[in-house]
């Protein structure tokens, strides 16, 4: 039966959307478990421990709790905007994932396809546009709740997000000058071949990388820039009046935005899915070594007589890690598994930094926050862009 190219495109796209959506939702749920665990260990306490082994089923319990809670719409709110705001926040947060490339073009069962939902040739601008629409979710939530704390949170967040979008865009522009493209796929392709080709090292873009990370923390309303929801001043900020799934959508939007900016940092500065050094020097054995070591350590601790509770769970995880290590050795899956591993590893490191900083830094004061971006970050980002542009012009 001859197949229509449009039909097969639609089928492949639907499969990819289903996979990305399922993985993203699971990551969102477990990112929150990771955050609670890491912060707990920073504060020398065990964190979630009751639901499942080491609290591993806690995200599931949270989801069930949030779904079954009463969905309350307080009186005196502006109902249409009150209902629109969380939907806007979550839609805009999930939309930007659609242009993120997770790996190169691959070949599965005769189909050539990109490990990306869609490769549009203005992908960077698309992400900027979508993230600039995301601020409405928070601003409208704060206003429509008819609550002074929520209003203050919404106002703070819109002012903060407008201000930090400037250094963010300028920091993004510098690596774009080096790679000379707006497509995220081509951007990563231009950084092929070892960490010395990454935009971070090749163009000396360390300044714009740091500016990008700082502005990204502010854009996602994370500590130390979480003034829109500063709980000791504003109850819970813009989402004070929200409950049940509407609260959950703000929560998921925040984590989805965190994942998006981490992906952007990896794509723009850290070489996307490319390994830190070429495969001929043995970079394809790194995941095998890491997973095998993790498996052996888990088995060792599982066999330890003092660990009575973890005897079965740790051994099971040890065996799973060893199986994953063996899978990485199979040649037919290596072409898509290795890029995926490096991409996830880099994104994971940046996400860990997000959590780490939340556990260690205090919150800014509001006037400091504004002075910092307008008098500090913005001029430095401008200067960095000028110098980069000058150097690119000299070299071309």
């Amino acid at each position: 039966m001859p197949t229509n190219p449009l039909d097969s495109f639609i089928v492949v796209s639907l499969i990819k959307i289903a996979i990305v959506f399922a993985v993203l939702m699971t990551t969102l749920a477990y990112l929150q478990w990771v955050e609670r665990k890491v912060i707990a260990h920073i504060q020398v306490r065990p964190g979630p421990y009751r639901v499942g082994p080491h609290g591993l089923l806690q995200p599931l319990a949270d989801v069930i709790k949030l779904i079954t809670k009463e969905d309350l719409v307080p009186p005196y709110v502006n109902t249409p905007l009150y209902l629109l705001a969380p939907a806007l926040a979550i839609v805009m947060a999930l939309l930007s994932i659609s242009v993120i490339p997770f790996g190169p073009e691959i070949n599965i069962a005769g189909h050539h396809t990109l490990m990306q939902l869609t490769d549009i040739n203005f992908g960077v601008l698309f992400i900027l546009a979508v993230s600039s629409m995301g601020v409405y979710g928070i601003a409208l939530a704060g206003w429509s709740s008819n609550n002074k704390y929520a209003l203050l949170g919404g106002l703070r967040s819109s002012a903060q997000m407008i201000s930090y979008e400037l250094p963010l865009s300028l920091a993004i522009a510098a690596p774009l000058l080096l790679s000379n493209t707006l497509s995220l796929h081509d951007l990563v392709q231009s950084q092929q071949g070892g960490f010395w080709h990454w935009n971070l090292i090749r163009g000396g873009q360390i300044v714009s990388f740091v500016i990008f990370l700082i502005a990204a923390f502010a854009e996602t309303n994370r500590v130390p820039f979480d003034l829109p929801e500063a709980e000791n001043e504003l109850v819970a900020g813009f989402h004070t009046e929200y409950s049940s799934m509407k609260f959950a959508s703000f929560f998921m939007a925040e984590y989805a935005n965190m994942i998006t900016v981490s992906c952007m940092a990896v794509l723009l500065f850290l070489g996307g899915w490319w390994a830190p050094w070429p495969a001929k020097y043995g970079s394809s054995f790194v995941p095998v070594v890491i997973f095998a070591a993790a498996g052996v350590i888990a088995l060792y601790h599982g066999a330890h007589p003092a660990r009575k509770l973890d005897k079965y769970t740790l051994s099971a995880f040890g065996v799973i890690f060893l199986i994953i290590a063996a899978v990485f050795l199979l040649p037919m899956v290596q072409q898509w598994l290795l890029p995926l591993f490096w991409f996830c590893a880099k994104v994971g490191i940046i996400l860990f930094a997000f959590i780490w900083i939340r556990g260690t830094l205090p919150r800014f004061r509001y006037d400091q926050l504004m002075a910092f971006t307008w008098k500090g970050l913005f001029p430095v980002a401008m200067l960095n862009l000028l110098v980069t542009g000058f150097l690119v012009a000299l070299n071309s």
Binding site: L81, N121, F122, L125, M133, Y136, L140, L155, I162, L182
Partner: protein, 166 residues
């Protein structure tokens, strides 16, 4: 496919545009205006002007409208008071509107008698590369003059808004 998408987003743009005028609360009007800007961006995208579409969302729907909403929230503007329409507006409003639209249609028909309908995706040259090239070669002088104009506007705003220093 293109025509269906065009009709959907053109309809959204028109409905949001009417809603801007009909809503009594400034925030609702502003949200409708965002809808107009967003659907216009998608119409640009359908025509093949992808850079303009992205710039439309980033600048108009993103930055400008956020400032509008920010100011409305900050001033806490209330619901617009509705006054009764005047006798003349009730009597002549709809006939005048219809005759104005008819006149517009007639002028467009007279000025471009042989115009064919737009083909979607036919326009090439909407990429960032093409626009950058055009701005810095063909349209360099207008581009620079516009930037100076904007600089003067910024300076004027600062002069008008700053507090008197003694």
């Amino acid at each position: 496919m293109d025509v269906i998408l065009f009709l959907i987003f053109a309809l959204i743009a028109v409905v949001c545009g009417i809603n801007v005028v009909l809503q009594t609360h400034p925030i609702s009007s502003a949200v409708s205006l965002i809808g107009v800007m967003g659907s216009l961006a998608i119409l640009y995208l359908l025509l093949g002007a992808e850079f303009i579409a992205a710039a439309q969302v980033i600048v108009y729907a993103g930055a400008v409208m956020v400032l509008f909403i920010f100011v409305i929230m900050l001033l806490n503007a209330g619901v617009e008071a509705k006054r009764g329409k005047s006798f003349m507006a009730q009597l002549l409003g709809i006939p005048l509107l219809v005759s104005f639209l008819a006149l517009m249609a007639w002028f467009v028909q007279r000025m471009y008698p042989s115009a064919t309908s737009v083909k979607f995706g036919e326009f090439q040259g909407g990429t960032a590369h093409d626009i950058g090239k055009a701005l810095f070669t063909t349209y360099l002088l207008p581009f620079e003059i516009t930037s100076i104009l904007i600089l003067i506007a910024i300076l004027g705003a600062i002069v008008l808004a700053r507090k008197e220093m003694d």
